[in-house]
């Protein structure tokens, strides 16, 4: 009886030990954060895993830029995707938990304001009108299109936008309302941009803001509005050319990944970042974002290899940064 028990226990222990060594063979890279950057991460993760023939698993989540940073600063993820730079309070949170990071810009996005193709009266919208629609004071008061501009129909607007954990939300509110996170609260909010695309597409009174990579594949189901900055330059429709030329303002924005120094010590993370910096631009074009100039990737790669810590944005929200601007700045921790 005792001998049987001993034999059984040792078998279980052996199985457990074998199991743990087996699972130690597959390495994981945990990525989370912005749903805007998600298409890039997903494409890169797919290609990378193919390259590595299943030795490395890459998981990509879409908790939103803010949600991703919360996890990142608790040490739960290796890489955090951001559609806006890291903020002061997030940097403090990371510092509190001993997480140091390397910031790397990877692409530019043209934040798109979209309506249903059945919408015949809108081709262009000014930032001033957008502010009238989205500012906190509009809640409960600016409900119909005619409340914004008497020339527009007296129909109730169906508003769609990013949720409070989203970097797109932070950037749009900063650019349009002048203050990050300041917004009316009565709209359909979701961190999942696919929900927003479905909503806008199916509602003829729909209006919402989504990343360019979620608009471009659905060009026949959505209509992008031209943006009039109000500086007399007229309407500019979102496109990669407009972003490169620097005319799509203020809704052209850089996208980032943040790699923690602890993760950067892992060989698979280093290989993933190398892969992203070299094969990334082609993938970024595929998912319809604007890649940075090759020199920018070389610089970012070098910063990673040197372990240049910190952010070039000082932890405050910024609007209207151009590609060249971005590359010239010095990092501050």
């Amino acid at each position: 009886m005792k001998a049987k028990l001993l034999a059984a226990t040792s078998l279980v222990a052996l199985a457990g030990a074998l199991n743990s060594t087996a699972s130690a063979q597959t390495k994981t890279i945990a990525i989370d954060g912005s749903s805007t950057v998600f298409p890039v991460s997903e494409a890169a993760a797919e290609e990378f895993q193919k390259l590595k023939k299943g030795e490395v698993r890459v998981t990509v989540g879409i908790s939103g830029t803010g949600g991703g940073f919360k996890k990142f600063c608790r040490g739960e993820t290796d890489i955090s995707n951001g559609s806006r730079p890291i903020l002061r309070q997030e940097m403090d949170e990371c510092a509190k938990n001993g997480i140091k990071f390397i910031e790397m810009p990877i692409a530019f996005d043209a934040l798109t304001v979209a309506v249903s193709p059945k919408n015949k009266f809108l081709e262009c919208i000014s930032i001033a009108d957008l502010k009238k629609i989205w500012e906190p004071a509009a809640q409960g008061k600016v409900m119909n299109f005619s409340d914004v501009n008497p020339a527009w129909p007296n129909k109730k607007m169906a508003l769609f936008g990013a949720g409070a954990d989203s970097g797109t939300f932070d950037y749009f509110t900063e650019a349009v309302n002048g203050k990050a996170k300041a917004t009316r609260a009565d709209f359909t909010a979701s961190e999942d941009d696919n929900v927003l695309v479905t909503g806008i597409e199916r509602d003829e009174n729909g209006l919402g803001y989504i990343p360019f990579a979620y608009y471009e594949p659905h060009k026949n189901k959505l209509k992008a509005l031209g943006i009039d900055e109000g500086k007399g330059k007229g309407c500019v429709k979102p496109s990669l050319e407009a972003v490169t030329a620097g005319t799509y303002n203020p809704l052209a924005r850089p996208l980032f990944i943040y790699v923690s120094t602890k993760a950067a010590e892992k060989l698979e993370v280093k290989e993933y970042v190398d892969f992203l910096m070299t094969k990334g631009p082609a993938l970024i074009m595929e998912v319809k974002y604007l890649p940075l100039p090759p020199a920018a990737y070389a610089t970012a790669h070098k910063h990673f290899q040197d372990g240049r810590l910190g952010t070039v944005f000082g932890g405050v929200p910024e609007v209207g940064v151009s590609v060249e601007d971005l590359m010239k700045r010095d990092a501050k921790t």
Binding site: S63, K70, T188, G199, D203, E204
Partner: protein, 302 residues
């Protein structure tokens, strides 16, 4: 004749009986314990919530925006969404479920019943997330062809699909209740010259009211707790309205939306999950009590 067992063997047998009884008691009690544990967790986390938010604001406030700056915690929009979707589902399932039950119990031949009943059960086996996408991608465009200005996310489409989902529950249980009505009632009615339809509607159905009411209450409890269909197809914008053509969020859809994001433990927004969960639990409890009372009131003993 001498006893077949010794005193010692009899004692062991008694102990074994007691042990088995104890194990069975624990199994039965475990379900009670789990329920108590769930309620305890909900109440414990909600206490933290209600120490920051007055109950009056929670129960009577008409705006629910806990995740934005300037958070407001009035649960009425979520409650309204839940009740509206349940009401639409009930309106849809009542005629269809009852007619199906009447047909299966009074008119269908045993062969037909053998085929139709299992197929009906299949409807209840479809995962609710599949129903959700069915509502979003099929039901809504279908409704948009004859309902003017129907937005892409709306309660009407979600409510109808919830109704489709609970047809098996309502039809099956109602049919069982009707079949339990003794045949002499039917025979008496038919002998008096009533048609089969008249017998079914005016004699059998009233006699089976207790069971039919129970079936409906079960279906309603299912509809109140339904999560994925409303999360996918009804939109996630809390909206206090009685018009099912508008998008609205239910309590369950809100909990899912918040759970998919990322909230630090112990924050007020995190505690809203438990406060709303508690509200949902109490709502379901009310329905169950109502169902129990209804069944008791209409119970007929044959």
């Amino acid at each position: 004749m001498a006893s077949a067992l010794t005193v010692g063997e009899r004692r062991i047998q008694r102990l074994r009986e007691r042990a088995i009884e104890f194990v069975l008691l624990v199994s039965a009690a475990s379900s009670v314990f789990v329920t108590i544990a769930i309620v305890a967790v909900l109440i414990y986390e909600s206490i933290g919530f209600f120490s920051s938010v007055p109950i009056s604001e929670f129960l009577f406030g008409t705006t629910w925006t806990p995740l934005f700056a300037n958070p407001r915690y009035g649960i009425l929009p979520l409650l309204g969404g839940t009740l509206l979707s349940t009401f639409v589902a009930l309106l849809f399932v009542a005629p269809i479920g009852l007619v199906t039950a009447i047909y299966l119990s009074e008119f269908a031949s045993p062969k037909v019943r053998e085929i139709v009943k299992p197929i009906l059960e299949l409807l209840s086996g479809v995962p609710t997330v599949v129903y959700g996408f069915f509502a979003l991608l099929f039901m809504t465009p279908f409704l948009q062809t004859f309902v003017p200005n129907l937005p892409g996310f709306n309660i009407l489409s979600a409510g109808i699909v919830i109704g489709i989902m609970i047809i098996p529950y309502v039809a099956s249980l109602s049919e069982d209740a009707m079949r339990a009505v003794p045949n002499n009632l039917r025979d008496g009615s038919l002998a008096m010259g009533a048609t089969r339809l008249e017998t079914a509607i005016k004699v059998v159905l009233p006699a089976a009211t207790s069971g039919v009411a129970a079936a409906f209450i079960l279906g309603m409890s299912r509809a109140v707790g339904e999560t994925m269909i409303v999360a996918i197809a009804a939109g996630q914008q809390p909206n206090l309205t009685i018009d099912p053509r508008e998008p609205a969020a239910t309590i369950t859809a809100y909990i899912v939306q918040v759970a998919l994001g990322d909230l630090p433990h112990g924050s007020l927004a995190y505690q809203t999950i438990f406060a709303t969960g508690l509200a949902l639990l109490l709502l379901t409890l009310c329905f169950n009590i109502a169902g129990f009372w209804l069944r008791h009131k209409f119970r007929e003993v044959y």
